[in-house]
């Protein structure tokens, strides 16, 4: 019995270690050198996920040009850096996803009194617009200028939903959550799938406090 036992152990070790050694060979270089913070890598993935659970009106959902990508706009001082880098080879609903950066209001022409962003036409074409923390002062303006154009506005700042924003990312106990203002989504003519609503920490269904 003892001899048989030893043989069995030997067989198992062989089975176990053979593939281990084989598989080690090609994976010695772990890639590193990302600049964006872990926080924004996670937030980037949230944005990517949101797109999967929101339906845009026909002109944005099924454009005439089928090659037209889904656009994530980033407005303001960009905290994502290269967090979206690996999105290049991914698609959602059969369409590519691209990101577009837009200058902060503070950097754009400030003489303009009505504070309309110079790239407003391009911003309106975005599917999702992430409003960076640098734009806090202008949130109301931004939302007003895109609300009729089915743009999913997302941010990570307090008061964003009250200001008319649709999704706000929040942090609690070292984890991220998100809250949704359904009324704002309806106004933007966006359909939120119920899975998204179910996972939201808070769903607000009323008009912004004027």
């Amino acid at each position: 019995m003892a001899g048989a036992k030893k043989t069995t152990i030997r067989v198992y070790s062989l089975i176990l270690f053979g593939p281990v050694l084989l598989s080690l060979a090609p994976v010695c270089y772990a890639q590193n050198g990302q600049d964006s913070t872990r926080e924004y890598k996670i937030k980037a993935a949230f944005l990517y996920n949101f797109i999967q659970f929101v339906d845009w009106p026909k002109e944005k959902e099924e454009p005439d040009d089928h090659n037209e990508p889904i656009t994530i706009g980033i407005l303001g001082r960009d905290p994502f850096q290269d967090a979206f880098e690996s999105l290049k080879d991914k698609s959602i609903k059969g369409r590519m996803v691209v990101t577009k950066r837009f200058k902060s209001h503070t950097e754009s022409d400030r003489n303009d009194d009505n504070r309309i962003h110079p790239d407003i036409e391009a911003i309106r074409k975005c599917h999702l617009l992430f409003v960076c923390a640098s734009e806090k002062e202008y949130v109301g303006n931004i939302i007003n200028s895109v609300k009729a154009h089915s743009v999913l506005t997302v941010a990570d700042m307090e008061g964003f939903l009250q200001a008319g924003g649709i999704i706000n990312l929040t942090m609690e106990k070292n984890k991220f959550y998100f809250e949704i203002n359904v009324a704002n989504a309806k106004r933007a003519n966006l359909e939120m799938r119920s899975k998204l609503l179910r996972l939201a920490r808070k769903v607000v269904d009323r008009d912004p406090i004027e």
Binding site: K5, Q34, S36, S194, L197
Partner: protein, 672 residues
């Protein structure tokens, strides 16, 4: 030993297949960086990602030098299971049998018995195995499954950290913090086997940092068909209610308090023996158990590398039944402290004390002498994790000392080593010793086992013995994890276990007794005259094929060779140790998110025959379909055991056996 060759080939084949898959995925994923990993995650997963990288004292699962599997809340929800043992069927290497509608036996790495005794099971750190037979009465722990955050399953000895009884594994059920169960939840459902399950909770806030929840659950279960074709008497119900409060006083001090009450009643059939014909009569009866438990815990963080926890609980159960009654009070206090020492050492040490007091009401068929006992248990452990090469090679040495009422001082040392050359591979190995201390039954019982008809009839009675010693295990383990991307994980573990001093049932010399009617009296006394070797391996893999489709599968092989020592007169136990656990198990599962907020989940499990229990191999095929009607409402339709009308999963000696039937179940969950 020749017999293992076939199994070994199957095992190799499974591995080769798994690796072939790997190679392909690897090619696809090569060069993927960490940000790509997050893009592979679902929203649920993202919401579980800790923003700050976990402090280094918290060991990452991937690098753990033990065979660990975590069943998440999402896994449980999508399994369609209505109780914990059914949910555990999905865990690689776990053997689950349903004996009747309320009796389950759960084992890991063999040694399935009517009352399996080599596992330690805890709910939030409160041990739920009963000292009566060192096993678990699963039915009384009918938690709201929605409250379970995760179930950690350790295959293999966990004695160094957890203590005695963690011989073949540890199951740790962790419930959600109250901040994660805010709001109202109401669920109601019913089906062919589960007549009705209803539960509700409400979670609220008492202050900025204080959350609470209260809940109640009632369930009522149908009886099953007995193996001999008659109607079973195993219908039962249970009511449970409780509360929990979490107070995060500061970032560094967290307190929690929880309490539960339950009451259950179940149908039971047990034999009444007589020395005159018909010798044995099966009597149906109702047994009821009620219990209360209260647990408080204080966690304090000193620094990033140092924290402590103090936990106190009190648990009372009272069983009233015709065979025996039992009242048990358990008081337990545990302290644990973790700190870093220099750059390379991370120490954990702890002290514990447990007092378990019981009081039995005896019957002629079943009695304990003495009828009341105080069991004092003192324990202490220390474990040092030494970082030999930073982040790459870790050695963990530990020992637990325990003093128990029956066998005195027991020691359980272990040495574990894990090598993580990069983020994709971990190889680990371990040697450990674990013990199972004797149960009250093995020491103190007098239990009528059988009357064999004849002239004169033979009257067999089992006796506990003060000589019963601890069972010992020396275990060698080897494991490997491979994660080519965040979408794929392969986990392999193999073990060779040597058991010593296993329980035996020694047949005594039959004596002729003239009264009350002439009969032969055959005493059976418990002893430790069995040894065994067990070998096996578990392979499991999960693969997120797309963001809405996840596949997982596992295979495990276990083989036990038991042999009694020369002086033994045991004629029962060899079949139990060798033939009551499945040698092969396959499990395959697919979880698919359908468009329109629907989910379709399927699982298939093959369980090998149990020659020692006279059970043929069977396949379980379960399907769950769920529809999230809106953000608040979820409808679940579950079909279990679709492949046959009914099948037996086990035959027990002690309790009634009923078969697992094809079952349908529907429920509605409403959250607000």
């Amino acid at each position: 030993m020749i017999g293992t060759r076939r199994e070994t080939s199957v095992f190799i084949l499974a591995l080769v297949i798994a690796f072939a898959f790997d190679a392909e995925l690897f090619a696809l994923q090569q060069g993927a960086d960490e940000s790509a990993d997050f893009f592979e995650m679902s929203l649920e997963e993202l919401m579980n990602v800790e923003i700050a990288v976990a402090s280094k004292t918290k060991e990452k699962l991937f690098e753990t030098p033990a065979a660990v599997y975590v069943l998440t809340a999402e896994d449980i929800r999508r399994s369609g299971a209505t109780n914990i043992p059914d949910a555990l069927r999905a865990v690689p290497g776990v053997e689950v049998v349903r004996i009747n509608s309320y009796t389950y036996s759960v084992t890991i790495r063999g040694f399935m018995e009517d009352y399996a005794n080599k596992l330690l099971v805890m709910i939030d750190g409160r041990s739920i195995y009963t000292p009566v037979y060192s096993g678990i009465w699963w039915n009384i722990h009918d938690l709201m499954l929605e409250h379970i955050e995760r179930i950690e399953v350790v295959r293999g000895p966990g004695g160094t950290l957890w203590g005695a009884n963690a011989v073949n594994g540890v199951i740790n059920i962790i419930t959600k913090k109250t901040s994660d169960t805010q709001g109202t939840l109401i669920t109601a459902g019913g089906g062919t086997e589960e007549r009705g399950i209803g539960a509700a909770h409400y979670g609220g806030k008492l202050g900025e940092n204080t959350h609470y929840r209260i809940y109640s659950k009632y369930s009522n279960h149908d009886d099953g068909p007995a193996i001999d074709g008659t109607e079973g008497a195993d219908e039962w119900d249970i009511f449970r209610t409780g509360m929990r409060i979490d107070w995060d006083r500061t970032e560094k001090d967290k307190l929690s308090l929880q309490g539960n009450i339950f009451k259950t009643q179940f149908g039971d059939i047990f034999p009444i023996f007589s020395l005159t014909p018909p010798y044995v009569q099966n009597i149906a009866d109702k047994t009821s158990i009620k219990g209360t438990d209260i647990l408080s815990c204080w966690e304090h963080t000193f620094s990033e590398t140092s924290d402590m926890a103090l936990q106190i609980y009190y648990d009372q159960t009272e069983r009233i039944g015709a065979l025996f009654g039992e009242k048990r009070d358990t008081f337990d206090i545990d302290f644990q402290h973790r700190f870093g020492l220099g750059n390379r050492h991370e120490l954990i040490w702890g002290l514990g004390y447990c007092l378990s007091t019981d009081n039995f009401s005896n019957s002629t068929a079943f009695s304990m002498t003495p009828s009341s006992r105080n069991l004092n248990l003192y324990s202490g452990f220390v474990q040092d994790q030494i970082s030999l090469i930073r982040d790459k090679l870790k050695l963990t040495l530990g020992v637990k000392l325990e003093h128990n009422e029956y066998t005195g001082l027991e020691y359980q040392p272990s040495a574990r080593i894990a090598w993580t050359p990069n983020t994709r591979n971990t190889v680990w190995a371990a040697v450990s010793r674990a013990v199972r201390t004797p149960s009250r039954y093995e020491r103190d019982v007098r239990n009528e086992w059988a009357v064999y008809p004849g002239t004169p009839p033979t009257y067999m009675v089992a006796f506990g013995s003060n000589d019963v010693d601890s069972e010992e295990l020396l275990s060698f383990e080897l494991g490997y994890r491979f994660k080519p991307s965040s979408r794929f994980l392969l986990d392999v573990a193999a073990y060779a276990n040597t058991y010593h001093n296993l329980r035996s049932s020694e047949g005594g010399i039959p004596q002729f007794q003239p009264t009350p009617v002439p009969h032969m009296f055959l005493p059976v006394t418990f002893d430790n005259k069995f040894d065994a070797e067990a070998y096996g391996a578990e392979v499991s893999a999960t693969w997120k094929v797309t963001y809405n489709w996840k596949l997982s599968g596992s295979y495990n092989l276990q083989k036990t060779f038991a042999h009694k020592v020369r002086s033994s007169t045991d004629f029962l136990t060899e079949d139990i140790y060798e033939g009551k656990s499945p040698r092969n198990q396959f499990y395959f599962r697919s979880c698919f998110d359908l468009p329109g907020n629907k989910e379709l989940d399927m699982s298939l499990k093959y369980v090998d025959s149990l020659p020692g229990a006279g059970v043929r191999s069977y396949m379980r095929f379960d399907v769950r379909f769920a529809w999230h009607i809106n953000e608040n409402t979820e409808l679940n339709l579950v079909a279990q055991n679709l492949l046959d009308n009914k099948h037996a999963e086990y035959t027990s000696w002690i309790c009634q056996n009923t078969e697992a039937e094809r079952a349908f179940f529907a429920n509605l969950i409403w959250r607000h």
